[in-house]
């Protein structure tokens, strides 16, 4: 275990230190006083666990391929950009374009998320990215989503579980919303809405279990609610556009 005090450090220096430790196989790195430093965990692979105290900057875990990053605080924009594997746990809320083009691994957000979460998310063979949001995301949730699984729990019981344009251009993957219904006008026209079945819920139970244990919630309480499932009508949303 190594501890780095990131106070007043430039991201380049900080990331260089982290990279060296991760490449040397360090099992745990504790980062203290992180204050907006970008690109932490960028393109790293391995089994290191990074604990972050403070607020990491944009592009946390971009292109990351392994590792576990736990943030004891809030996150900013573009977390998990094009991430390939590993897991991210944020004990707070996060900003915009989180999980952009994410292709594998998992992300657990305790509270709310900004706009355009999980857009261009993809899956391929055994790689299925997962995003679980305890609060609610903003507009354009799952835009152009092409694979993977996103779950919104709305544990704070907000009136709107998603913003507008949810699943616009969606052509793969699945979204679960813990709510009784979601207004059709908020959904992209490529999306089919239905109630989640027993099997569906079994499918996501492991993710909810993880979420409950990370953030100390009662699993049964979360699951004891109706879930709406959104999935795309087809894999070819724009197939008929051309002459």
């Amino acid at each position: 275990m190594k501890t780095i005090d990131a106070k007043d450090m430039h991201y380049k220096d900080l990331n260089e230190m982290i990279k060296e430790l991760v490449n040397s196989g360090e099992d745990v790195i504790n980062l203290k006083n992180v204050n907006g430093q970008r690109y932490i965990g960028d393109n790293l692979n391995g089994n290191t666990k990074i604990n972050i105290e403070g607020t990491p900057g944009n592009d946390l875990a971009a292109f990351m391929d392994g590792l576990t990053i736990e943030v004891f605080g809030n996150g900013q924009d573009a977390i998990g950009n094009t991430m390939n594997d590993g897991s991210i746990i944020v004990h707070g809320h996060v900003g915009d374009v989180v999980g952009y083009g994410m292709r594998g691994g998992s992300m657990y957000i305790k509270s709310d998320a900004g706009y355009r979460v999980g857009i261009h998310m993809k899956q391929y063979n055994d790689k299925v990215p997962v995003v679980v949001i305890g609060g609610t995301p903003g507009d354009f949730f799952g835009e152009y989503m092409a694979g993977g699984c996103m779950i919104v729990l709305n544990l704070s019981n907000k009136k709107d579980i998603v913003g507008e344009y949810c699943g616009t251009g969606m052509h793969g993957g699945v979204i679960y919303l813990r709510c009784n219904d979601v207004e059709d006008y908020k959904l992209g026209k490529e999306v089919i809405k239905e109630e989640a079945t027993e099997d569906d819920l079994k499918e996501i139970s492991k993710y909810i279990k993880n979420f409950s244990s990370y953030f100390k919630y009662d699993y049964d309480k979360i699951m004891n609610h109706k879930f709406i499932k959104l999935h795309p009508a087809g894999h070819r949303p724009y197939g008929k556009l051309y002459a």
């Binding site: 690109y39 393109n43 971009a62 261009h120």
Partner: protein, 501 residues
């Protein structure tokens, strides 16, 4: 075929005195134009289906075939041309957006052809490239503000990462999916042989071509297809694709039916799924956001690889380029409105964007006036047809050029502009294994090497003629150009004098 208002564009003429009914044309035409009529006992053709790709003409062993523009004409009308009417029929029938491929084919002025190159006479004598060293090598990447030397005259300044090119030419981005495996194999191998670079486009890097990594530029576009650690590690440079000349403001879209097993693996998406990469990167709404992605990629590659940005040439290209330079990019590739594509909406291809000639000149002038020209390399693209176009592009201010269409023509493309149909009879813009094997990469790569080597000789001769022995000395040397038949305004934007001045 259902009844429609379309008339054929081309007519297949068969010289029956020469035709030996060998059916080669029938086997060669993926558009199924030719067939053998048992009753008539001879080959016949369905003119409607012909796209004039010339494959059957070239392959016919007795040279019995000729394809001509169909003699059937509408009543003459300078306004309502055959094309205009035909397009309306097609859209009235289908309700769809018209697709097209390769570059803008409309008769806009070609400014390359309105510029002429200087040569020395008597004074500042010309140099004979056959006898004297003539440098074509260039370096793509950010150059330091100043060079510091230590007491032993060794360079102390840490150089930012550079790409080293033996010729000021690279193969532009064409994805696996838009072009075939064998086309990629030819480009990659030729790049290695020549000491230049090819560009994967936004469709990922096939595992077989990782060995060409040191000569590979990989693209990161909004869809992020195939982008992972391995991809970034293998490449010599990373290019963020914002736009392309054939379709500024329009994204990439590989239809699901072209996503085969192999392409699916390379792009890392399921078989048959649409591969959509919209024009806006929804994480980039400003120069600051672009800068964030640039540095994200630099962090990912340990600041050891140049990170470039490709944009289409549009009205405000100079201001945008200045922003890209300040965002930290190592090079900017600008693609003019004649740039090729595997598929683009026809109206966009034919009407959006500006000529590359103006774009290079105005970007170069702008970056110079702001004192930041050295911080970024400039790559010009969008229909470079010959070594003369390259010399003119560099004299206008480019460091190097990207060639796409020209490279495909070297591989056998006959400019039928039907790449989006996936039935390229030349094995280039297709994924049909029977068509792909028509392009032999062994031969293909040699043809590319021949082309670039030939252009290299020609560039050296033109340089020598100007009394210049290093391509770097031509860069932005607009005094070496003169304009013919241009307005004063056009000359001013290009920053060149009129012939005779």
């Amino acid at each position: 075929m259902s009844l429609n208002y379309l008339t054929p564009e081309f007519k297949v003429l068969r010289d029956y005195d020469k035709c030996i009914n060998c059916k080669v044309c029938m086997r060669q035409c993926a558009n199924e134009v030719h067939s053998y009529d048992e009753d008539l006992g001879k080959m016949v053709a369905d003119d409607y289906k012909c796209v004039n790709c010339q494959r059957c003409v070239v392959m016919c062993p007795t040279h019995a075939l000729t394809i001509v523009k169909h003699p059937q004409v509408f009543r003459e009308n300078a306004n309502w041309t055959y094309d205009a009417i035909r397009d309306i029929y097609r859209q009235a029938e289908t309700g769809g957006v018209l697709l097209s491929a390769m570059g803008n084919d409309r008769p806009y002025p070609i400014y390359w052809d309105k510029m002429v190159i200087n040569a020395s006479q008597v004074t500042n004598p010309s140099i004979d490239p056959l006898r004297e060293p003539m440098e074509l090598k260039i370096f793509i990447g950010r150059k330091p503000d100043k060079i510091e030397l230590d007491e032993n005259l060794n360079v102390k300044t840490k150089m930012p990462p550079q790409l080293t090119l033996n010729y000021p030419i690279m193969f532009s981005a064409m994805s696996y999916g838009s072009i075939s495996y064998n086309a990629h194999a030819s480009l990659a191998r030729a790049a290695k042989e020549l000491g230049i670079y090819y560009n994967t486009g936004e469709g990922g890097l096939h595992k077989d071509f990782r060995k060409y990594g040191p000569n590979t530029i990989v693209q990161v576009a909004s869809g992020r297809f195939g982008v992972d650690r391995e991809y970034l590690k293998t490449a010599a440079a990373v290019e963020i694709k914002i736009g392309q000349g054939a379709k500024p403001g329009i994204g990439g879209h590989l239809p699901g039916e072209k996503v085969s097993e192999d392409i699916s693996e390379t792009r890392m998406i399921p078989v048959g799924s649409d591969a959509i990469s919209p024009a806006p990167h929804h994480d980039i709404y400003s120069i600051e956001d672009l800068s964030q992605l640039i540095y994200s990629l630099k962090e990912a590659t340990d600041y050891k690889k140049p990170v470039g940005v490709k944009i289409a040439a549009v009205n405000n290209v100079a201001a945008i380029a200045s922003g890209i330079a300040r965002a930290g990019a190592d090079y900017i590739a600008i693609d003019g409105f004649r740039g090729g594509t595997g598929a683009a909406p026809k109206r966009i291809r034919d009407n959006v964007g500006i000529p590359i000639e103006f774009a290079i000149a105005s970007v170069d002038s702008r970056l110079r006036s702001e004192g930041i020209r050295h911080t970024i390399s400039l790559i010009a693209a969008g229909s470079i047809r010959s070594s003369a176009d390259i010399v003119k592009a560099i004299a206008l201010g480019a460091d190097a050029v990207y060639i796409g269409s020209a490279a495909l023509i070297a591989l056998g493309c006959h400019m039928c502009q039907q790449c989006y149909t996936g039935k390229c009879n030349w094995g280039i813009a297709t994924q049909d294994p029977n068509l792909v094997k028509r392009l032999n990469p062994e031969i293909g790569y040699k043809r590319l090497v021949n082309l670039i080597t030939a252009w290299g000789h020609e560039i050296q001769e033109m340089l020598g003629g100007m009394g210049i022995n290093d391509i770097e000395s031509l860069k932005g040397n607009r005094l070496m150009l003169r304009g013919i038949g241009m307005t004063q305004k056009e000359l001013d934007v290009l920053g060149i004098l009129a012939a005779g001045e």
